[in-house]
């Protein structure tokens, strides 16, 4: 994940505080079989209780994917923040709503802490990704 992407997510988390921020991670697969996140695309939080939840509906997801495609890249994951100091580990709700294969970047309160996660295929939990 490029430093500029980290900075962008931190800034988005701080700007949205005390609500949760959310957006897409746009990237490309690199030669080593990993994924390089090139930029973060902010989205509006459609959740009812934006202090404790985030949601990007299908329209938003489609728009984000289209925006990524315009750059010749694809959405490889999503980011959101945990504003209330819950830390940057996924919550039970995050687990319930997670899709396989995607990178989930979570920012702790105002973006102090950024951690990246991927859902296990059996949905038993997340594995942390090394940045």
């Amino acid at each position: 994940m490029a430093p500029a992407v980290r900075a962008a997510i931190r800034a988005a988390a701080a700007a949205a505080w005390p609500a949760e921020c959310c957006g897409a991670l746009v990237g490309v697969a690199d030669n080593a079989g990993g994924t390089k996140v090139a930029c973060a695309l902010p989205a509006s939080n459609e959740a009812e209780d934006t202090l404790h939840a985030f949601r990007m509906g299908p329209e938003a997801v489609r728009e984000l994917e289209a925006a990524a495609a315009e750059q010749g890249a694809e959405v490889v994951g999503y980011y959101h923040s945990h504003p209330e100091g819950a830390g940057a580990a996924p919550s039970a709700t995050d687990l319930e709503w997670a899709l396989p294969g995607l990178i989930y970047v979570i920012a702790g309160a105002e973006g102090h802490e950024l951690r990246a996660w991927r859902l296990r295929e059996d949905r038993s939990g997340f594995d942390e990704l090394t940045p």
Partner: protein
């Protein structure tokens, strides 16, 4: 039921679980059948499409030819037509655990945002502040900034202890009050002002002077004791009470252009008595009323006290425990003295001799002074301003000596009735100028300093020495109201 061929378009994240397919063709009767068929064809997809109960997962949005299936009349029981396209488009959602902010109201979350942002404070720290109870003894020069900052910081409960009313001379430094508050009880006005700053703070009012009788009863209800009084009896009283109650005592003191602050915690380190076992003789150290104080100085020292209280509550950083901070405002220097616990300290030492609160006025010599004033056969005389005025009007000419500092004379002076000026510090060296046979009347602001000097002169062989009772302020009140009091 007839079946028909339909194409299911998969979102990117699900494709690897369908062997990389973008689209999957199935034969099905309804939308629901089609999704079941998809899960049968690619079993790794099933748990990501359906919950254990077989319901579609929340993030799975199914579109049939651009219409979201949930909005159709028959929803996923909608029959499929030839060549229909089913699209699965996910929602991306999640949330943070809701219980973490328990105990803080929504307004508080925003109010304390700059605190919570600090990793050293965070949610836990802010909740600790809210749960904390701090006693502020004296709502004056030091108590004003300390209480304002503690309230703004979100300390949940502040106990204000003060029996005074707001006086015009207070407003130069006691920033809890304004001109409208003159004559009103400080505790009531302070509570109102602090509520304006932060309505979430609970203010407990103690419109009383802290005494040996009430100190333990009041202070035992608080976690930290902040002393903003700046007088010796209360300082020793608060220190001893804090040691007995095993609570930290945050000390501050100001005089003219200099200030001091420290944290005395008898449980872990030195207490105030380890530093100053006994108070100085009364009258030797002038208080702020007598010596003056730069108005901004209590703002600095009181803020340092608030800082130390907050660090104590949060358990972060290094407090001033075991250190005495000394501030010289004119030269702008902070110095620091290391303090050692005294094993022979009478209150926090290994074998304490003070195990309950004592009479602190007596301990600090104030009672003796009062006794000397009332039982004067062997000491100096006390002379009321009215009596002096009558005698001056009758043509008597005792020697009037104003022992105040030069700057005080600029405020008010008895020069018009013949008072000489010999500042307190010079008197001892200028005794030769005085006639032992003559009657001497010593004058200061309130009669406190001059009373101490009168005793001293009487003991030094001046039999006819008197103290102007109540000082020049009392003269102003009872004889000449044209003189300002201060």
């Amino acid at each position: 039921m007839s079946t028909t061929a339909a194409t299911i378009h998969l979102p990117t994240p699900l494709r690897p679980l369908a062997d990389g397919a973008t689209e999957v063709c199935v034969s099905a009767g309804t939308v629901k059948d089609a999704l079941d068929a998809l899960a049968r064809a690619h079993p790794r997809l099933r748990r990501h499409l359906f919950t254990d109960d077989g319901a579609l997962r929340g993030y799975v949005n199914v579109f049939l030819n651009e219409d979201e299936v949930r909005t159709l009349p028959r929803q996923d029981a909608t029959l499929l037509g030839e060549g229909d396209t089913i699209m699965i488009i996910p929602s991306i959602a999640g949330g943070s655990p809701p219980a973490l902010h328990e105990g803080l109201e929504r307004d508080e979350i925003t109010r304390y945002a700059r605190h919570i942002t600090l990793p050293e404070v965070g949610w836990e720290g802010q909740k600790r502040l809210k749960a904390a109870r701090v006693a502020v003894i004296g709502a004056g020069g030091l108590g004003s900034p300390a209480a304002l900052y503690l309230a703004a910081a979100g300390v949940g409960t502040l106990g204000l202890i003060d029996d005074d009313v707001v006086d015009l001379t207070n407003l130069q430094r006691q920033i809890l009050y304004g001109t409208d508050d003159l004559g009103a009880p400080k505790v009531a006005r302070a509570a109102r002002r602090l509520h304006e700053t932060n309505p979430h703070v609970h203010i407990e009012r103690h419109p009383a002077r802290l005494t040996s009788a009430n100190a333990l009863g009041i202070l035992e209800n608080y976690d930290v004791i902040l002393d903003g009084t700046d007088n010796f009896p209360t300082r020793y009283l608060a220190n001893d009470a804090a040691v007995l109650l095993k609570k930290p005592y945050v000390y501050g003191s100001i005089y003219r252009f200099e200030g001091q602050a420290s944290v005395f915690d008898g449980r872990t380190g030195p207490c105030y008595r380890c530093l100053f076992r006994e108070p100085p003789p009364p009258g030797l150290v002038p208080n702020c009323a007598e010596g003056g104080v730069l108005g901004v100085l209590p703002g600095i020292i009181g803020s340092v006290q608030a800082l130390e209280v907050i660090k104590l509550i949060l358990g972060i950083g290094e407090t001033l425990a075991g250190r005495l901070a000394l501030f010289d405002a004119l030269r702008f220097r902070w110095r620091e003295l290391k303090l050692q616990r005294n094993p022979e300290c009478p209150v926090c030492g290994d074998q304490p001799t003070i195990t309950e609160l004592i009479d602190y006025d007596l301990f600090c010599g104030l009672k003796e002074e009062e006794m000397a004033e009332t039982t004067e056969p062997n000491g100096h005389r006390e002379l009321a301003p009215r009596e002096l005025k009558a005698r001056l009007d009758a043509g008597e000419r005792p020697t009037l000596i104003d022992v105040r500092e030069a700057h005080e004379l600029d405020i008010s002076s008895l020069e018009a009735v013949g008072a000489r000026h010999i500042p307190m510090g010079d008197l001892q060296g200028r005794l030769g100028e005085l006639d032992q046979e003559e009657e001497l009347v010593l004058i200061c602001r309130t009669g406190s300093r001059s009373g101490a000097l009168a005793r001293y002169l009487h003991a030094s062989g001046f039999p006819r020495v008197a103290n102007l009772t109540g000082g020049i302020n009392e003269w102003s009140r009872t004889v000449d109201p044209s003189l300002p009091t201060y």
